[in-house]
């Protein structure tokens, strides 16, 4: 297809033309310039709305958060900003609670992401078979994802409740005694991971399913002709073909677990929820940020936490890349 840009030659004045003609051609070059400007500029105008919105609601808050992180600002006096330089970062980096939150976020992230993605792979594999009412099963798998965090967390809070909770009730009947789930260091993390796994497994399963359906059927055919079992097919055909998709879900899950907020906040709710339990046993970085900014009212350190979270994500991404490169080179 030809471009719509008119070539300059098309409007070149005829040689030795009359003065009248040359004046007309002068106007034409001006017009053609305008046309060309229009052609070059208007695509930017079309995409401008996104960038305007992104600038207002994405970039500006990001930079302003950075600006706040360098100041002393209180919730009680937003107008009084006092230059603090590196102090806020220094404060959170020397706060034991910050490192507790980092550890918790990391642990809960691993405890929820790994089983979640494994189960999702298995589920997707099953859904990929010829099934009766496959659409029904696929919809069911996605249902938890469609529920809101708040309602899911509240229902699970009832399940994990120390007093009269569903799980303890079952354990009691099994003769295993009961556990104060939210109170323990590991049990609380397990409880939160369960909520996350429940909510996101179906979502990931559907992504995997979509990728699986793009795997050419002849690969499986050839494999089965070679006598590969279902399991071998899954390992040698499905997984390698899904590698980019798996990487994608890992990235998404990592970002998701870094932002984990609603589930821990609502596990116990109230005062304990906001600080991640009375020994901060399940306080995530987002909760730490929230508590610093909204409960204690110190916005400077809270903003510093936000930037620290961004830095952590970048570090994780870099490590991820390094590992990916290592795996690729060693696999060859």
């Amino acid at each position: 297809m030809a471009t719509s840009t008119p070539t300059p030659d098309a409007y070149a004045p005829p040689p030795g033309g009359s003065p009248h003609a040359s004046a007309r051609s002068g106007r034409q070059t001006w017009r053609s310039r305008l046309w060309r400007f229009d052609d070059k500029a208007s695509p930017y105008a079309y995409i401008a709305p996104f960038f305007l919105v992104f600038g207002a609601f994405g970039l500006y808050p990001l930079l302003y958060t950075g600006w706040i992180a360098l100041h002393r600002v209180e919730m009680t006096g937003l107008n009084q900003m006092e230059w603090a330089g590196w102090d806020n970062f220094d404060e959170i980096l020397h706060d034991a609670e910050f490192w507790t939150a980092v550890t918790n976020t990391f642990l809960i992230g691993v405890m929820s992401t790994v089983p979640q993605l494994l189960v999702a792979l298995g589920l997707a594999h099953l859904l990929n078979y010829r099934l009766r009412a496959s659409t029904f099963w696929r919809t069911v798998v996605l249902t938890p994802y469609a529920t809101s965090v708040a309602s899911a967390a509240l229902v699970f809070a009832l399940v994990f409740r120390a007093d009269g909770g569903l799980l303890n009730w079952v354990l009691h009947f099994a003769g295993l005694g009961d556990t104060n789930w939210a109170n323990g260091h590991w049990t609380s993390k397990i409880a939160i991971s369960v909520i996350v796994i429940w909510r996101w497994t179906g979502y990931n399963a559907l992504i995997y399913l979509a990728a699986m359906q793009a795997v050419p059927a002849d690969l499986y055919e050839a494999a089965s002709l070679d006598g590969a079992s279902r399991w071998q097919q899954f390992r040698k055909v499905t997984i390698p073909s899904l590698r980019p998709t798996i990487l994608f879900t890992i990235v998404i899950s990592t970002i998701g677990s870094m932002q984990l907020f609603g589930e821990p906040l609502l596990l116990e709710g109230g005062r304990l929820g906001a600080t991640g339990g009375n020994e901060n046993q399940y306080e995530t970085l987002s909760l730490y940020l929230y508590n610093y900014g909204w409960n204690l009212g110190h916005l400077g350190p809270a903003a510093a936490v936000a930037w620290a979270m961004l830095a952590l994500l970048l570090i994780i991404a870099a490590v991820n890349r390094l590992i990916g490169r290592f795996v690729r080179t060693s696999a060859v």
Binding site: A45, A48, T76, A162, E268, G270, L272, W294, L296, H298
Partner: protein
């Protein structure tokens, strides 16, 4: 294909460009300026009818006492809409945000006593000086001082106060072989909080299985600290909680309770643990500011009616724990009417009605002589003569020095007391954790 362009085509493009250029900022603007907050104040409508909005938290008791409906009867052109947030810890940060942005504020906003100092110190300019609307000398002497800004403006009208008493479960006392009569129980603990712990040990010896002498040692800690003028801050506004004798005494007693395992170690008001414990009746005593009686009867439920009783606090402690204020933000559209409403709500008759309805005790001295207060008995608590118990005490409550972060300090220490009770954290370690967290909060 070569696209041939006509003048019409170009003008269409220009039109598209122009509309996108115009609508995007327009959308952004409307997105920011439209006030979707329902609690925001609005002016009178065409007929001069006014809707006053009141934002508060927990249980202020106005609805229960039917006061908003009554006000509408007295002033037919005024309708009152209440916006209640259950948890004060969610309410307060929201209030601060609204104060910062200057929008979404109701005509009348409630503020808890643990926060009033911070608001009076930093945000007094945003509130109407109620000292000009209401005669503050009607209140117990220290109530007005708590809400007075450095400029001298009284920004909050006192609603209730929390004189201290002791609530106890007579059924459990009987089973443990302890006296159940009000006067006898009072005599057992007349020596003070040490006596209270001794009574707890006595209770523990014959206690029914699965029951505890008290719900939480932090409640006792609060009661002890509240009975002193000097608590977490000194007169000059310097935080002194590390050296404060009252904090020290309360902490040591709490550590003793934890080591002797006299309490169930519950976080008070926690719906997962504290509320079921009250319902099941596993707690024998609760340190009981006036408003706590309402909490007990509401949470323990009808099934436990008549099992509870109220007596004077150990050592006849005169203490105030809690109590709130009503404020009028200047940003409201009906500031004058809101001031009148606050004046009416905090007048003796109305405070007495609230006391009768839910048991929160008046801060207005004029209410103490009213029969609704003076002769008040709580049927749920075996007809305990609460009017008499609290009114006697209200006169001798010390004038407490408040600080901006009282609420946060109290909560942080409570958390660490719970850790001592529940996890067996050593007092030294718990104290260090508490002071670290408080230093961060005071910042």
């Amino acid at each position: 294909m070569r696209i041939t362009r006509t003048v019409a085509g170009r003008s269409r493009r220009a039109a598209v460009l122009a509309t996108t250029g115009l609508t995007v900022p327009a959308l952004l603007l409307t997105g920011c300026s439209s006030d979707s907050d329902s609690s925001g104040s609005t002016g009178p409508d065409a007929n001069g009818n006014i809707t006053l909005t009141v934002a508060d938290f927990g249980q202020f008791g106005y609805k229960e006492a039917g006061l908003f409906a009554k006000y509408h009867e007295l002033h037919p052109n005024i309708t009152i809409k209440e916006d209640v947030t259950a948890d004060e810890k969610i309410y307060y940060p929201k209030l601060l945000q609204q104060l910062n942005s200057g929008s979404g504020l109701a005509d009348v906003q409630g503020i808890e006593v643990g926060r009033i100092k911070e608001i009076a110190d930093t945000k007094a300019d945003s509130f109407v000086d109620l000292g000009k609307v209401i005669d503050v000398d009607d209140w117990v002497s220290w109530k007005a001082k708590q809400a007075t800004a450095p400029s001298g403006a009284v920004i909050g009208a006192g609603t209730d106060i929390g004189p201290m008493s002791l609530c106890y479960n007579t059924e459990l006392f009987k089973k443990a072989g302890l006296p159940t009569d009000r006067a006898e129980v009072a005599k057992k603990v007349e020596g003070g909080w040490e006596d209270y712990i001794k009574l707890g040990e006595e209770y523990k010896k014959k206690a029914p299985a699965g029951t505890y002498f008290m719900d939480s040692a932090s409640a006792m800690f609060n009661a002890v600290v509240s009975s002193n003028a000097e608590q977490y801050y000194d007169e000059s506004g310097k935080p002194i909680y590390k050296e404060s004798p009252s904090v020290q005494q309360g902490w040591d007693l709490a550590a003793e309770v934890a080591s002797k395992k006299l309490s169930q170690g519950l976080a008070q008001f926690d719906t997962n643990t504290w509320v079921p414990a009250l319902r099941k009746g596993t707690i024998a005593t609760v340190a009981c500011p006036a408003w706590m009686a309402g909490q007990i009867s509401a949470n323990a439920g009808e099934g436990n009616k008549g099992k509870w009783d109220i007596t004077t606090a150990p050592g006849a402690t005169a203490a105030n724990w809690g109590g709130s204020f009503l404020t009028v933000p200047k940003s409201g559209k009906n500031v004058e009417e809101a001031g009148k409403l606050v004046k009416w709500l905090t007048a003796p008759e109305q405070q007495a009605a609230v006391f009768k309805a839910i048991g929160v005790f008046p801060s207005n001295k004029g209410a103490y002589e009213l029969p609704d207060v003076k002769n008040a008995k709580l049927p749920y608590f075996n007809d305990a003569p609460i009017g008499q118990i609290y009114a006697d005490e209200a006169k001798s409550i010390p004038e407490a020095v408040l600080g901006p972060k009282d609420g946060v300090i109290k909560d942080t220490i409570s958390t660490q007391i719970t850790n001592m009770e529940q996890r067996g954290t050593s007092p030294d370690k718990a104290w260090k954790a508490a002071t670290d967290a408080i230093d961060k909060a005071i910042g």
